[in-house]
Symmetry: D2
Subunit: 290 residues, 4 copies
């Protein structure tokens, strides 16, 4: 996409109680301001008393007001009437994204490689690791690499260092096989902004060494799960999952190898959807408009 193309594209995400008239009101408002809707998805958990979700993608070349005025107008005329939670983002405002990783590189490289090809519309501001192993690979992509070692004693100090590096400007944090548990406080600092990849088909095999768990149980498919990190480990809202067939022929090492391919794809899809504002979190679940 050209910068010009990006500049014109905006996305509106809405959550509210479902009742008649929402679509007509939202689309009427946008149309009256010269906006051209190019994609529209909606979902209702129940037309009677349920929750309504909506995603609009629209072009604003003929916008008759400023962004600020459009948003203020929307807030007053539309959102207030339906009690909406809503957010407009602009494709030209690339989200600032940081990637945290330990020593395993497949998720990280898949993201950097897709990012360089233009498949992930973000500004990758930094990669942080608790090991120095991947510094060279990261710097080859022209991305700053920060080493933040973590030891059992200085965990709070390490997290403090992470917070200083990430600051309040980081809009997306991807845990691409970052093998350190983050504190409840840290996670709460970035609500619905931390995407983790877990190498199992959750809720099966949460916790440590899921491929070993899978091998012991003798499952015939192994999987990967991308989810938003929450205070409770491996229990946050699931964004995407996929599986691959395995058999008695695959020892744990082979499950790890096969699983890498699924992890890469699942993580890449989840991050792309987040960057394109396709995900609405509702309770402990996600609505993903793809």
């Amino acid at each position: 996409m050209s910068q010009k193309g990006l500049g014109a594209t905006a996305r509106l995400l809405i959550t509210c109680d479902d009742r008649p008239g929402i679509v007509a009101t939202v689309t009427g408002f946008l149309y009256n301001h010269g906006v051209n809707i190019t994609a529209l998805d909606q979902h209702s958990t129940d037309p009677s008393g349920g929750t309504f979700f909506m995603r609009l993608e629209f072009q604003t070349p003929h916008l008759d007001v400023s962004r600020t005025a459009l948003e203020r107008g929307f807030a007053e005329v539309v959102a207030a009437r339906f009690g909406m939670q809503w957010h407009i983002s602009y494709a030209s405002d690339l989200k600032r994204m940081a990637i945290l990783v330990s020593k395993t590189d497949h998720g990280l490289l898949e993201l950097l490689w897709r990012w360089r090809r233009g498949e992930l519309p973000a500004q990758v501001t930094m990669v942080i690791s608790n090991h120095d192993t991947l510094r060279g690979a990261v710097e080859d992509f022209g991305v700053p690499f920060h080493l933040v070692p973590v030891s059992a004693e200085d965990r709070p100090a390490a997290e403090q260092r992470l917070l200083e590096l990430l600051g309040d400007q980081t809009e997306v944090i991807v845990l691409a096989r970052y093998m350190q548990v983050l504190s409840e406080g840290f996670v709460a600092h970035y609500p619905q902004r931390i995407i983790n990849i877990h190498h199992s088909f959750l809720p099966a095999f949460a916790g440590a060494d899921p491929y070993k768990q899978a091998h012991e149980r003798g499952v015939k498919l192994i999987g990967a799960t991308a989810h938003y990190a929450t205070a409770q480990l491996d229990a946050g809202p699931i964004i995407e999952q996929d599986v691959i067939r395995v058999s008695h022929r695959h020892p744990v090492a082979e499950l790890r190898r096969l699983g890498r391919d699924i992890e890469r794809q699942v993580l890449a899809r989840a991050v792309a959807w987040h960057l394109e504002d396709r995900i609405i979190v509702h309770g402990n679940k996600t609505v993903v408009f793809v």
Copy 2:
């Protein structure tokens, strides 16, 4: 679904040139007549000068006018303005469906079995075959069975008999492995109403004995394709496709056996989508809103 539930559900399919204001106008019109939109999908081939497609599902318990008045109003106020091709159908008006089959029963039985479970909202009016083989199986489901033999000499007479049986009231004709070629005239009589299942991943292996062709080529996946029948054999708009993995270990007979499972699923999905008014044909392609 209760009859009451069905009675209230209507579906609107729209095709027109894309330009700003369509969604706002359509949803505004419906809202103003007391209609509650419960599903909305749209697609545009190109926001600038492309074709726009839309499917709405709505409930009409509070409709302030009759069906006739609603449709007349929509035609005058909305459709005329945008030059729309459109159609409203009502879930309570079950489509009259006939199934044509030769001797192979798996597609037929899958449809009848799902229909009996309530998964296919249709009125199955008859099964027609050029062999008497499946009469018992069909009549067990309480569905009328008609034998219409076909020989090379009397093909036109056989088609005439088919036309008499099917008449103009039949809204969907499913060719569930009907191994006779239908004439251009017959197909033209039921435009976009004849669904065929072909036992290959089209356009690969069109024509006779696709599993044999697949075996000879040594493909590693075999497939099935459901499509609308057109004058040109195996070349109509594709509705759905799926594949299954095979290997050198599978002789042709085994491909046929494995393929049956895929054919059953692909055909069942295509028929369900058609019955639920989820498909818009555009040129030689389909837009399927699922």
Copy 3:
């Protein structure tokens, strides 16, 4: 397969400690008795000190001795030397199979339908249910139907009735959605002969109402698992699993409907593999040679 074809086919399953010379000894023995090996699969958990598994399919038209003599010879010359657990079965000896079901018919009908087509080489001796709902559907297939009601008070009596019906002659028992818990004693009576279908991707969502559990967790794939029943519910050796993609759009009822298609396929594959002697149970896992 013709009866003649079946008559000539035998299968040998072997489990023993791995050490050099097993394949050469087994195949040499068979060759020397005029046996023609037509399929051979082997697996070793570890060539040094692991467990070795083998499946041979062979034709015996030129067998130079009786079945009894062949088996006695194998026991003395080969099996004793390597300390093998082994079993020879003959394709012409169709396994006696019973199906237990409650009210849900999709697994049952899939099995009966495939069985009638010749896809499941078994002798279906009976269907037993704790409800009378499916009697007609079963009897249409010419299969005896037995009603064995179960209530909380008379569970032992009901199991006693099951044991009387099934006897010691039943070689395979399929729980095709039989919604009653079977006692440890009952299960122990038919070790590695009871196949259950659970409607989730185990070990996720063991126990009651897995589709409801899946919906609450917000998973993006739902699955089905066929496994051998053991004393511990939903924890026996897994034979086969598969999944299907779902989304936020699918309420629990829709998960049930979509899941049925996966359950049918997974159960049918597992039963076919068992009937074709393709499965070796080892600890709590299976080796499946397909």
Copy 4:
């Protein structure tokens, strides 16, 4: 795998007319020379008069003779008797592999990335391209990059240059989106040693711009095919194929993007299987033992 592990592993591929005694003779010969068989796969197109294929993986720590003596013995004692085509390779002799590419990098990078991780047991001797675009990316991996421009007039000269670079020592040539047609003579120089990735589910959409063809036909799945190059374009023996689901929502550019992920996986699997001696070509088909 440690070099020690690799050093001990050998693989034997056999093709011959099927008749009784092959397995017993082959495994008996190897056992008698102190070889430990760790994997064995076989396939017969027909036990009566068909072709027999076999792959053995064995360890030679206790080999009682030299490699040369083992092979000579096998030739004389076993292969001659059954008229076998056969080949033994040793895992420690890494195959010399060259990659040809034009400007598109995804297949190339996937191979290099997996190779660096140790997933592709080869010696990557060079990358050759008709453009200079990917020089930097290749040299980052420490692999020599050669530019061999091709224009319509000097095609034979360019091929001559390729032959000089590749020589007779190159054992595997991967066309990772090399957009030049190779002459029949060139292809014949490397029989069953050139692996091509075609970005469609062959035989559908052979030739130029398969994603555009797929879009025009309106298929619901797109695919990729890895095959051995032969004189006839896109018609050689298929090694591996896979597909991904698409819909009316995907313009050609999006098919290209989605297709890349499938191409990468299919190509990587095919190359790995070739390097691990898992493929036997038979006529225009492959037997792949995985």
